[in-house]
């Protein structure tokens, strides 16, 4: 199946029961697949009038007690940013898939890129932390979609799957394990007296329990800066406290959230840093380089946000350099540069999108920097 279909199947396996979407190449297949499958499992699919509405409906459904998601590509991702901000502010669990294509604006609808990575990080206004995953195969999309839902529920936050046209449209074998072998998590539920319940009072892991509408908690949910009760409070202190909580629950759980995969890092002189489809290019390039006797390793970022800066820092102490491979003009590359902090030179193999990077290009860069 294609990466897009694997994503939809992963969502269903994770327990997603609401999809609010708007068609856009190359993410449409996810919506199409969900539209056929959701009614059978008691869920609901709706194609909204635009991506803004789609994202709003996803948040609404999340507060109704559903696991909900949407899928889009760059232009739609831009439109969703408004309500993604609302989702972050109201700490609403949901999953947003961005099957990236060439941008800016309408860009290259049928051709892939990885150039929305920074938009994922900073796309909505204000300071915040976000979780973004970048799977590199159809099988991994399946599993990472489940993981995305689990992280989203665990930390009450929107989670992004930053895939791309190449993987979205690539068909590969996907093994779907039986339901009892799939772990699905649910948002922590409040306990205790309903009239004393505080919607944003975190428990021990920094995340506040979350009821659903209609359960009698009479919650108030607002995109205004709010206190633990959820009431708007227009004050410096309230802002500080709210922001600290939103950042803490993510950054305080970095070890749980950040997933990477290392190949040949133990003896590597040069480390390729890559994610998504480019990680496959990098893997092929690494094998070719190794065959030529070049000690090259690969750090594949499965979680892109929060950024695995500790890993980079540790590697920077002992490697001769980093080569970041991504289909953009240097987004994660700048993060690597920041984390390496001058301890190791950082290079980029990237271009502005439309096609995948070939292993030859990476190999050439490896030879150039060796």
């Amino acid at each position: 199946m294609t990466g897009d279909v694997a994503c939809a199947e992963g969502a269903l396996a994770a327990g997603c029961r609401f999809f609010g979407g708007y068609p856009i190449t190359p993410a449409t297949e996810i919506a199409e697949h969900m539209s056929g499958r959701l009614p059978d499992v008691g869920g609901t699919f709706i194609q909204m009038e635009d991506e803004i509405a789609a994202m709003a409906s996803v948040l609404g459904a999340a507060w109704s007690g559903c696991k909900s998601m949407t899928a889009t590509s760059g232009p739609g991702f831009s439109l969703m940013m408004e309500n993604i901000g609302l989702g972050v502010c109201t700490e609403t669990p949901c999953v947003v898939v961005n099957v990236q294509r060439g941008g800016p604006s309408t860009g290259l609808p049928t051709m892939g890129a990885q150039a929305d990575m920074m938009q994922a990080r900073w796309g909505s206004h204000g300071d915040y932390e976000i979780i973004a995953l970048a799977p590199c195969s159809a099988q991994e999309i399946f599993y990472q979609t489940i993981t995305a839902f689990n992280l989203s529920e665990r930390y009450r936050t929107p989670v992004f799957i930053m895939t791309d046209e190449m993987i979205g449209h690539m068909s590969e074998k996907v093994v779907i394990p039986p339901a009892d072998q799939i772990t699905t998590e649910w948002r922590p539920k409040p306990k205790g007296r309903k009239d004393r319940f505080l919607l944003f009072k975190p428990d021990e892991n920094g995340v506040a329990p979350m009821p659903a509408a209609g359960e009698g908690y009479n919650v108030h949910v607002t995109g205004l800066t709010h206190d633990e009760k959820g009431y708007p409070v227009m004050s410096v202190e309230a802002q500080e406290e709210m922001m600290a909580r939103i950042k803490r629950k993510i950054l305080g759980n970095r070890d749980d959230i950040i997933m990477t995969e290392g190949h040949g890092l133990d003896d590597a002189d040069i480390v390729l840093v890559s994610y998504g489809i480019s990680a496959r290019t990098s893997m092929a390039a690494m094998q070719q380089a190794r065959a030529q006797g070049l000690k090259v390793g690969l750090l594949r970022l499965i979680t892109v946000w929060p950024f695995a800066e500790d890993h980079i820092q540790r590697l920077a102490e002992r490697v001769k350099g980093f080569v970041t491979v991504e289909v953009n003009l240097g987004q994660i590359h700048l993060e690597v540069l920041r984390a390496a902090a001058g301890r190791a030179p950082c290079h980029l193999v990237g271009h502005s999108g439309g096609t995948i990077i070939s292993p030859d290009q990476v190999l050439a860069k490896i030879k150039e920097v060796f």
Partner: protein
């Protein structure tokens, strides 16, 4: 504070809507002379009177003065982004069809930035009750022109008069497929309350426009004293149920028609979805 004083507070008669209001958030932000409070009270009264399960009832608002209503109701309430109350409510209702979802918001929020969502929700016949407090301008941001501002009316962004023409909201709702449409002013609280009650208990997309004064921003710039606005509501309106929707322009130089204009049955979005997409269930 003395015990006596406390006792006197305790003894004070309870507000009839006490149980539905987050009294810990009072005072509210609405200005003196504003019509929102009246409309909000009518809405809460209607909710109570309708006998629906209030625990299963939510209010969703967008941004603006009216959008603050969700913050004052002691129900599950959602104060969303500007213009997006209806799609948020759509997700809420689809995610859990047992919920009664009332959208309470202003004309700027629902019909300018959120206009597209309004017509699509009406087209789908989403089972929502949408109450629009129409005060003819953007009140919260200081009185800018809105999609409902009358032709030639003055606002901060139309200092010499509005060159554009306003929406006829009931006509728009009717044309988009709403199954219940009514219009009242805040002066007509009894009729308004009855209609909201009817709208809440009726399935399908219900829309109620409530004309309410904004003396601070709109009234002041258009030489309309608060009381004069209410007088207009009394003198320049005419109640005509089932009126032709195209006759429903808001133009106080002529008579403004009030009443219940549409009350029809049509399968809701969820009924149609279940029937079409999961006939076996």
């Amino acid at each position: 504070m003395s015990a006596t004083a406390q006792a006197s507070v305790m003894a004070a008669p309870e507000h009839p809507l006490e149980d539905l209001i987050r009294s810990d958030r009072i005072p509210h932000i609405w200005c003196p002379g504003c019509g929102i409070g009246t409309a909000f009270a009518a809405c809460l009264t209607a909710m109570k009177a309708s006998g629906i399960d209030l625990q299963k009832t939510c209010m969703v608002s967008g941004i603006g003065c009216s959008g603050r209503a969700a913050g004052y109701v002691k129900l599950d309430s959602f104060h969303t982004t500007h213009g997006r109350a209806i799609p948020f409510a759509t997700g809420l209702k689809l995610g859990n069809p047992e919920l009664n979802v009332v959208v309470f918001s202003g004309d700027g929020d629902l019909f300018a930035i959120g206009g597209n969502h309004f017509i699509h929700a009406a087209r789908r016949n989403m089972d929502l009750t949408v109450i629009c407090l129409n005060n003819l301008n953007y009140g919260m941001t200081g009185g800018q022109v809105a999609a409902t501002t009358p032709h030639l009316a003055r606002t901060t962004t139309t200092p010499v008069g509005n060159p554009e023409s306003p929406f006829n909201l009931p006509l728009l709702a009717w044309a988009s497929g709403a199954t219940y449409v009514a219009r009242w002013t805040v002066l007509h609280t009894r009729e308004l309350t009855d209609c909201i009650k009817k709208a809440i208990t009726k399935s399908g997309f219900s829309f109620i426009e409530v004309l309410g004064p904004c003396p601070v921003n709109y009234g002041r710039r258009n030489r309309e004293k608060p009381l004069e606005t209410l007088r207009l509501y009394r003198d320049q309106t005419i109640i005509r149920n089932n009126a032709d929707p195209s006759d429903l322009e808001v133009d106080f130089t002529k008579k403004v028609v009030l009443g219940e204009f549409v009350d029809k049955e049509r399968a809701t979005c969820i009924e149609n979805y279940d029937r079409t997409c999961r006939p076996a269930l």
